[in-house]
Symmetry: C2
């Protein structure tokens, strides 16, 4: 038996920080394996609670709620990377096991720290510079050139908190910096990529790493529109991607599933764009394309179970259902090859991720 | 769009009567499609509640709980066939939609009514006779012969409430009848079957019928041990099974998934042994062997959505994990081809269904 000595038994309780669709699908995967779940979220209206045994509605740093979470759960995980450091401190002080750990969160929460960490471990990224002031930005633009992408160091997602700077003009730079709130930023060189790909990798307590085939991703307005997987890449590119992902999760002594977004350049080289220390939208294709999906894989990793197989059983095209697109559920339900996932959210606001559909096709040889 | 005009939208609430593993997996399937769920069960410790939004702990005939259920749910279904008639009366009186309907339940709850119904609709069964008294039993034995199987007309499951009568001896007959509590019974001729097979069929609101490939079932001590699917049967047998199942669900104006257990005789003829107006243990292989499993199919049917595809994607061997077998979860989790479902029940009492494992193999041509 390959499970670690301290693997959690079915019936144990898993804490999940965050009440969105990723928390919901994590709770469903935990239930499949016989685990209980408890969700912590500040939102009374949330979509993970209805599929979890217990829901704690409280701020992420509420000491009482965290004490309750720690007393109920044998391990705590999260569905988003911007978990406050204070939350982890409090849980740590209570002796609560958190997976993935604080190091991965810290690295993923700050774009400068993230790229610095990656480069330090031999993982290539675009050229970048930290920006704390307008003077920094002007200097960075002079070195990196324009156009370049200015992003806040922290808290951006789905294309928010970033702006392209098209020229070296000081006024343009100033407008961009002010526009982002004059917060600490990062200036990134553009990547002349031919494709955006991602790899979903998992690492167990015992250091075992398992990576899924690559997904090819298409974004619109900064939001993931669709993923095609397995991506048709050369064996060398696949190997390169899996090597980089393995290097990252190993360097972080990581436990759980991680999404690693990459740019594929014309010469086949891969640059890592971003890491997400959690289950990832570009891994939703695994829900219907693999024997063990990313959510079950994450649960397996954090409870100390052996990782499951990661090969693809089908060619999958995953399409996010954004905002009002969810209203087309009737036609989607009638489509034979379409596998529907609907998140049980309320209002279909524009751009809001309401569900996704996995369309299955025979694997290409 | 093929959905019926009154199909329920994602976000609607589905009521489920019963808090066991079938209710649990129904609730998980409902969640996948964005539905809310409410469970009604008399047991405070139940395994469906933790994955449902609302749990009502009350007797199945509690008027207050049923009023609450009817006010929350747009449609009510059940995980077991022995729902009291009073429950359906109360829900009906409240204008609550119940699927499958009262007719299917009534027929499935009484073994004599069931076989009479089947024969009336051209569905063959073993020879049988109703038994209300010892005199009836003696007469039935004289006609049907011994050995024969005496069962209570109502409430038997997993081999309970039945006994073989090995000879025509009046004392033997009396002991058997008294042993079953001298309740209304049925005497059944034995079937000289070569295999036990079952078909899981679904019928939608619009009368569309979809049947999965056959499962071949192996029982031990009256409890399902394993199902292999798709069963290797001739095209004629498959056709015969699907025709019989279609005849049954159509005659009942049925809505939902039904399990139809059959005996395959040496000459290829099929006799229907039992119908279960609900998702069925012999259909658990579909959870990992089909795009749309029996639980999602049931939800689709009762909410008025189009039925999903039913072809097999893999050869599956489903094995129930009974009692202490669940303690082997560590080895099962480490088995690459094993897909685990653990029900989150407490005590692994002998014979208790604690989970199941689907082992996947490439489809045989």
């Amino acid at each position: 038996m390959k499970t670690i000595p301290h693997a959690l038994h079915p019936g144990a309780t898993i804490g999940i920080i965050g009440g969105g669709q990723l928390g919901r699908m994590l709770a469903m995967a935990a239930a499949r394996l016989g685990f209980e779940t408890v969700i912590l979220t500040p939102e009374a209206e949330n979509c993970a609670g209805p599929v979890a045994g217990t829901v704690l509605i409280a701020d992420y740093t509420d000491p009482e709620a965290l004490a309750r979470l720690a007393s109920l759960a044998q391990v705590v995980t999260f569905e988003f990377e911007n978990v406050p450091a204070k939350t982890l401190e409090i849980l740590g002080g209570l002796g609560c096991q958190v997976a993935p750990g604080a190091k991965a969160l810290a690295v993923a929460q700050d774009r400068v720290d993230e790229k610095t960490f990656l480069n330090t471990h031999g993982v290539p990224t675009v050229d970048f510079a930290p920006v704390s002031s307008l003077a920094d930005l002007v200097e960075a633009l002079a070195r990196i050139g324009a156009p370049a992408l200015l992003k806040t160091r922290r808290d951006g997602y789905d294309g928010k908190g970033q702006v392209w700077i098209e020229n070296h003009d000081r006024a343009t730079a100033e407008a961009a910096f002010i526009g982002l709130g004059a917060k600490p930023c990062i200036l990134e060189a553009p990547a002349a990529f031919v494709r955006e790909v991602s790899v979903i990798a998992a690492r167990g307590h015992d250091g075992e790493v398992a990576a899924y085939p690559l997904g090819e991703n298409h974004h619109e307005s900064g939001i993931l529109r669709r993923t095609s997987a397995p991506a048709r890449v050369s064996p060398a590119t696949l190997d390169q991607a899996q090597t980089l992902a393995t290097r990252i999760v190993t360097a972080l002594d990581y436990v759980g599933v991680m999404g690693v977004e990459m740019f594929e350049l014309a010469n086949g080289q891969l640059l890592v764009n971003e890491i997400a220390p959690r289950v990832h939208n570009t891994g939703h294709w695994t829900l219907d394309g693999c024997e063990v999906d990313q959510f079950e894989q994450h649960i397996r990793a954090i409870v100390g179970w052996p990782l499951g197989p990661t090969h693809a059983l089908a060619q999958v095209e995953m399409t996010n259902l954004l905002g009002g697109e969810i209203l087309d559920w009737g036609n989607l339900a009638a489509e034979a090859e379409a596998r529907l996932w609907i998140y049980g959210k309320g209002e279909p606001r524009p751009g809001r991720k309401m569900g996704h559909v996995n369309r299955l096709f025979p694997l290409k040889p």
